[in-house]
């Protein structure tokens, strides 16, 4: 006897169920298909090519009227099912009631709408069905600006399609990098770069506050106060399973409609399939698993129950020119190991995640040709131990084993390309070596090989070794750390010239061999980026040593010291009282006068930091940066104010210098002193910058030391006015910031570049001096602020995340 099957929703999942039923049991059911959209089944994932104009709706229809007629499927398109009445086994469609023997819910998902004011304005659309797509096409025909909220798969496909149709598109993304569910930060960076190259603006960490407009959407307002004009706003921030009917009918619903492995809901006569379901605690947002589910549903309906097993899924983005692939679980969980490969020249990034000798996840950008092979290894759980070495090079590299890198280089044919940036092949390099270029620098000069991005440096060195044999001595230039073969100097130069403006850019374009650096390179790169790109780059506290992240010096017992600034060593009774009160209130075990003319409160508990800072702030005291690679102290003597020998206002100059320089980040710490006469009570002649006042003006000395090395300052210049002394100091510090290697004090850096080189820029070339002063001022406009005041406003960050000491085990 034919049973009545009612299907709610004509989507991708139910389309598959219908295919299986019409193939295997064409006469088993009287099917009625109800769809809220005024059309039947179509290939929803191809809406993006429709939006971009590569396809039309007709191209993506999977089941047309002729199909439904031929298989006797009754259709009700354009009206939603509004209720399921389980006792009587009927559903309500508009004014009608349809009865069923078996019911299949395939209602898919609904786009998530962020609850901001203005979300209902005309001109705000979501991206789910053909109507949305047509609305976007119509808007794009008018031209203008589009803002897409959401930098996931859907948002980016919408953005690319709208850009293709000529709109000026901005993508807003809440997280730090695009498609964070599918991509790691490195791949997210490459994707962003490719999208930006096609004119799409990307703003990450952008929180939408409201959509504003008079009668229709005109702009998007962000939490940080930015207003972005918009003729069209697309919300693509996520989806949630469409479960309303099931909930109303009293079926078991979690995040989705709960089904067992046979896709049955809590009512045995009702099955569910697709994005609306939750199976084994999981939700599904891609079609591959839905197709497996559809098979199981059809099998169950025809009396041959099967089992649905959630499997890994792979994602690709359907934006031409943005080749990305991600599969499996590339982020979660312990016991895992990474293999990373980067080819900066070609913009390629691949990362494999291995656990227990199995591949569990893969992320690829730029070259995804091997994606399916890796996906196969993930799904099959293949033991990859035997091919581990060459795994990342894909199936082509399996089999032959040329393990020794030298013999591999020796075996390359002369026309093999070594330097991708400059197109230099092996033959050219070998003839240069034969012609007398016997070290890296000479090969670089003769052929340009390894002179651009530098990633082939290792290969060129191996060629030198192969060609010269024992005659080649490997150069001693020290790479920053094990994550790269590049030196600090190379990296600084490449950050400026390439240019590179984010840590992801450095890791990718300079071929870092680790996922995100290590404790040695991260602080250095963070400094280089913020010094060279003060506007574009934002300081990353997570790349700083604890003292600079906590803005206090960590002690051997894990407590901290707190040193407020005392400008030029001058203080007041009121400041001293505030310090004394703080010492009492927070039970500070040690109060010490430092060698830098100020007071150190040692032994403060980490949790108390925000509170003690707030108290000190109230008395006008700010951070003394006793912990930073930045300006520490400016020591002064009493000078003309009190001393019978004083020639100039050394205290005043010291205070002015400290006020100009505080808060800036430098390659290493910087200490200054100003003495009022050559008796030099402030010990200015052993400082990074030390000024000695004389009758005729100011002797500005630089590059002194009195720590692990002791060295007298060298004279930068003698100047007549205080303003010149300040200008020279600021210009010198900025030149140091722009050029020195991280953790070189000024005396070490000046020894490398030579005092004459410094003088030429800071003293002689007045245009360059002004440029340095302006660049420093720009940086200070961002970084000169009291970190204590900022951090004290958010004390929660200093408290433990949770306290489990009170909870007992069950």
């Amino acid at each position: 006897m034919t049973q009545k099957l009612v299907i709610i929703g004509a989507g991708m999942a139910s389309g598959r169920v219908i295919d299986h039923l019409t193939d295997t049991a064409p006469d088993a059911f009287d099917i009625t298909l109800v769809n809220a959209e005024p059309r039947g089944n179509y290939n929803r994932i191809m809406l993006s090519p429709v939006l971009s104009g590569e396809k039309t709706y007709d191209d993506i229809v999977t089941h047309d009227d002729a199909f439904y007629a031929k298989h006797g499927i009754a259709t009700r398109f354009g009206t939603a099912v509004t209720a399921i009445e389980r006792a009587g086994k009927t559903v309500t469609v508009g004014a009608d009631t349809l009865s069923y023997d078996k019911l299949l819910i395939a209602t898919g998902s609904a786009p998530f709408i962020i609850p901001v004011p203005g979300r209902d304005l005309p001109g705000v659309v979501t991206y789910r069905d053909l109507d949305d797509t047509n609305a976007m096409i119509a808007a794009a025909d008018q031209g203008g600006k589009a803002v897409v909220i959401g930098g996931g798969l859907l948002g980016l496909e919408a953005a690319a399609g709208l850009a293709e149709r000529g709109m000026d598109v901005t993508v807003l993304h809440l997280m730090g990098h695009l498609m964070e569910r599918q991509l790691d930060p490195a791949a997210g960076y490459l994707l962003r770069r490719d999208l930006e190259a096609r004119g799409i603006t990307v703003r990450t960490q952008a929180v939408t506050k409201a959509i504003i407009g008079n009668g229709r959407a005109e702009a998007v307002l962000l939490e940080d106060g930015t207003t972005l004009p918009a003729d069209l706003v697309v919300m693509a921030v996520g989806i949630r399973p469409e479960t309303r009917l099931a909930t109303d009918a009293g079926l078991e619903v979690g995040r989705g409609i709960v089904v067992n492995a046979q896709m049955e809901t809590s009512d045995p006569d009702i099955m569910a399939v697709g994005e609306c379901v939750e199976c084994a605690g999981q939700l599904f947002g891609l079609v591959a698993p839905l197709y497996d589910q559809a098979k199981v549903v059809a099998a169950g309906l025809t009396g041959t129950p099967a089992v649905f097993l959630p499997k890994d899924t792979a994602t690709k983005l359907k934006v031409t020119g943005c080749d990305l692939f991600s599969a499996g679980d590339f982020a979660d969980g312990p016991g895992r190991e990474d293999i990373v490969f980067r080819d900066p020249g070609r913009g390629i990034y691949k990362r494999l995640v291995i656990e227990d000798d199995r591949l569990v996840g893969a992320v690829m950008y730029g070259d995804t040709a091997d994606g399916n092979w890796f996906f196969g290894l993930i799904k099959d759980g293949t033991d990859i131990e035997p091919m581990r070495e060459a795994l990342i090079f894909g199936p082509a590299a399996q089999g032959g084993a040329a393990a020794d890198p030298l013999s591999a280089v020796a075996a390359l044919p002369p026309e093999a390309e070594i330097c991708g940036c400059n197109g230099v092949c092996k033959g050219t390099i070998v003839s240069a070596i034969d012609g007398g270029a016997t070290d890296l620098g000479a090969v670089r000069a003769a052929t340009k090989a390894s002179a651009s991005c530098g990633t082939c440096t290792g290969l060129v060195e191996q060629l030198l070794q192969v060609t010269l044999g024992d005659g080649f001595v490997k150069p001693t230039a020290q790479p920053i750390c094990g994550c790269t073969h590049l030196t600090h100097e190379d990296v600084r130069r490449l950050i400026k010239t390439t240019p590179l403006k984010s840590q992801e850019a450095v890791w990718q374009d300079l071929g870092w061999t680790t996922r995100n650096g290590c404790h040695v390179c991260r602080p250095a790169i963070n400094f280089y980026l913020l010094a060279d790109w003060p506007l574009e780059y934002r300081d990353d506290p997570q790349s700083r040593f604890v003292n600079e992240r906590k803005h206090a010096n960590i002690q051997k017992d894990g407590t901290f010291s707190v040193v407020p600034r005392m400008w030029g060593g001058i203080t007041t009774p009121q400041e001293l009282r505030a310090i004394a009160d703080a010492a009492d209130k927070y039970a500070v075990p040690t109060v010490k006068v430092t060698g830098g003319q100020r007071i150190d409160l040692l032994g403060v508990k980490g949790e108390d930091l925000p509170a003690i800072w707030a108290d000190l702030n109230r008395a006008g005291l700010v951070s003394g940066h006793a912990y930073s690679k930045g300006l520490r102290t400016v020591k002064t003597c009493v000078g003309t104010d009190h001393c019978r020998f004083g020639t100039q206002d050394s205290t005043g100059l010291g205070i002015r210098l400290e006020k100009a320089l505080w808060g800036s980040w430098t390659p290493h710490k910087v200490k200054l002193a100003v003495s009022g006469c050559p008796r030099n009570c402030a010990e200015a002649t052993c400082k990074d910058v030390g000024i000695v006042c004389v009758d005729s003006g100011y002797q500005v000395g630089v590059a002194g030391a009195a720590g692990m090395d002791v060295k007298e300052t060298e004279r930068l210049a003698d100047v007549a006015t205080e303003q010149e002394a300040i200008d020279l100091t600021v210009a010198f510090i900025q030149l140091y910031r722009e050029n020195a290697k991280y953790l070189d004090r000024p005396y070490k850096w000046v020894a490398k570049v030579g005092l004459d080189w410094v003088k030429a820029r800071v003293v002689d070339d007045l245009t360059e001096r002004q440029r340095l002063i302006d660049a420093f001022a720009l940086s200070q406009s961002i970084y000169q602020k009291d970190p204590w005041a900022e951090l004290a406003a958010d004390p929660a960050r200093f408290a433990p995340l949770a306290d489990l000491t009170l909870e007992a085990a069950e």
Binding site: M175, P334, T514, T805, A809
Partner: protein, 113 residues
């Protein structure tokens, strides 16, 4: 179940990316490290060398560097890397739906008898 007691600790965004936060437990402080957008680890917050607070260290790859003397620990195994010998206790963690869950079985106080 599986012997795990999954306890919802916080939103994963409460831990800075490539950073850490600590939680107090009956067994001492435990550091929660966020090594990737959706990837977290947990380990005791005490360095076996001289007790350095690991939650204050630089987090890189799936490792953390102790802030006091730069020992590096693999957060998968808890083993110190390179020449240093020593290890820290690690605890199972999951990130799910934007929340961090920790297996609290070993961290909770046994119920009072």
């Amino acid at each position: 179940m599986t012997g795990f007691t999954w306890l919802d600790i916080a939103a994963v965004d409460d831990i800075p990316l490539r950073g850490a936060r600590k939680i107090k437990t009956a067994m001492g402080c435990v550091a929660l490290f966020r090594t990737g957008p959706e990837e977290a680890f947990a380990a005791t917050d005490r360095c076996p060398h001289k007790g350095g607070p690991l939650s204050e260290g630089i987090v890189h790859g799936q490792s953390v560097t102790c802030p006091l003397h730069n020992w590096v620990f693999d957060l998968n195994t808890g083993q110190a890397q390179g020449a240093d010998a020593g290890s820290i206790a690690v605890h199972p963690v999951r990130v799910e739906g934007g929340r961090v869950l920790i297996d609290a079985a070993a961290l909770l106080r046994p119920p009072a008898a």
